[in-house]
């Protein structure tokens, strides 16, 4: 199963569950409060997922590791390498 199918499957499952509760498709005679909560649920989920995404990306950007040491180390090793290679007879 491709990721696309997995997603379609998951989304349609959620939509069916939502429709069943919101519109009482199966005549379960659920209390009115259930329907009131379920009805705007997809929008809530979408908005909270959006917030979660922004928060995650923002947090990861803010805490990203800037490797200054690695850059310094590399610069030093480049010098060392150039000297050593010249000794070994490399003509740049």
């Amino acid at each position: 199963m491709t990721k696309l199918l997995e997603w379609l499957f998951g989304v349609s499952f959620v939509l069916v569950a939502w429709a069943v509760v919101s519109f009482d498709l199966l005549d379960l005679s659920l209390p009115q409060t259930y329907r009131e909560v379920a009805w705007p649920m997809p929008l809530y989920l979408l908005v909270s997922f959006g917030c979660y995404s922004l928060a995650t990306v923002g947090y990861r950007v803010a805490t990203f590791n800037d490797c200054e040491e690695a850059a310094k180390e590399l610069q030093e090793q480049i010098k060392e390498a150039k000297e050593d290679l010249r000794k070994k007879g490399l003509k740049m």
Binding site: K3, T56, R60, D66, C67, A70, L85, G89, M92
Partner: protein
């Protein structure tokens, strides 16, 4: 480290590591990356070879490579040049054909990937007998030099309206990675990094299946690896961006990234 230098604990090991270095105009960097590879492989005592696949660089990369071959020996430096630029996927296929190792390292020749991580890749691979080990900039001590936002902000007023200011490479990279994680759940934290260690057979079977070009290619490799139930290990790496402040992920690359992502989404 000192004891490792003298004792060579891995000398008896029969594993051999072939490093594929596709190059195009890397005259400056090639000697340095080779020097570093020889240094770290030498210190850790693993059996290795370096395969330089030069795609007809006009700057004389091949000539430099020939000099390096004389210095380090024909058993360590193998030259497998091609006449013109033919793309990364075919460079790997070309390199694999000539590789005598049972493991293959893939890395960039531009010094953004440091060979000091090679022993860690090898240890990680042995630890779980992984089919592939992928370097990750997004976990543990991993990171990138050259993408720091605070330093970028100082430059902000100079190029305020440029796309790269509104969405600096770090934000784009993070955003792209998050989106991919959500859609594809690939089981690896760094999809577009290209510092990886593969079992030779695994790399062969993956390269055969991968159709993407450029930047999406690395992503497809790891997504297909997961699809084929290969095991993946991860090693944190630091990445020193060669062009400080400039991202290689421009507008066109974003379009090709989105296309690639959707293709993988629909086909894997």
């Amino acid at each position: 480290m000192a004891s490792r230098k003298t004792s060579h604990p891995n000398r008896d090991n029969e594993d051999k590591y072939s490093v594929l270095l596709p190059t195009y105009n890397e005259r400056e960097n090639l000697p340095l990356i080779v020097w570093l590879l020889v240094k770290y492989f030498g210190e850790s005592g693993y059996n290795y070879e370096i395969i330089v696949i030069d795609d007809g660089s006009p700057d004389g990369t091949l000539e430099i490579a020939e000099q390096l071959q004389k210095i380090y020996g024909e058993d360590k430096i193998l030259l497998r040049p091609r006449e013109k630029k033919l793309g990364l996927g075919t460079a790997y296929i070309h390199g694999i054909k000539h590789a005598t190792g049972n493991f293959i390292f893939i890395m960039d020749a531009d010094l953004s990937h440091h060979p000091k991580f090679i022993p860690e890749f090898i240890e990680k691979q042995k630890e779980g007998n992984y089919d592939l080990v992928s370097g990750t900039r997004y976990q543990g001590n991993g990171g990138v030099y050259g993408w720091d936002l605070r330093r970028k902000l100082i430059r902000l007023r100079f190029n305020f309206l440029l796309f790269s200011t509104v969405f600096p490479s770090l934000v784009r990279s993070r955003g792209a990675n998050f989106l991919t994680q959500v859609l594809l759940r690939p089981g690896a934290s760094d999809l577009t990094g290209s510092f990886r260690l593969y079992k030779k057979k695994v790399l062969e079977s993956l390269v055969e299946r991968c159709v993407s070009k450029g930047y999406v290619f690395q992503m497809e490799m790891i997504v297909r690896a997961r699809q084929l139930n290969y095991t993946i290990g991860e090693v944190p790496i630091s990445f020193v961006d060669r062009v400080y402040g400039e991202s290689k992920l421009g507008g066109n690359e974003i379009v090709s990234f989105v296309k690639g992502l959707l293709t993988l989404f629909a086909t894997t």
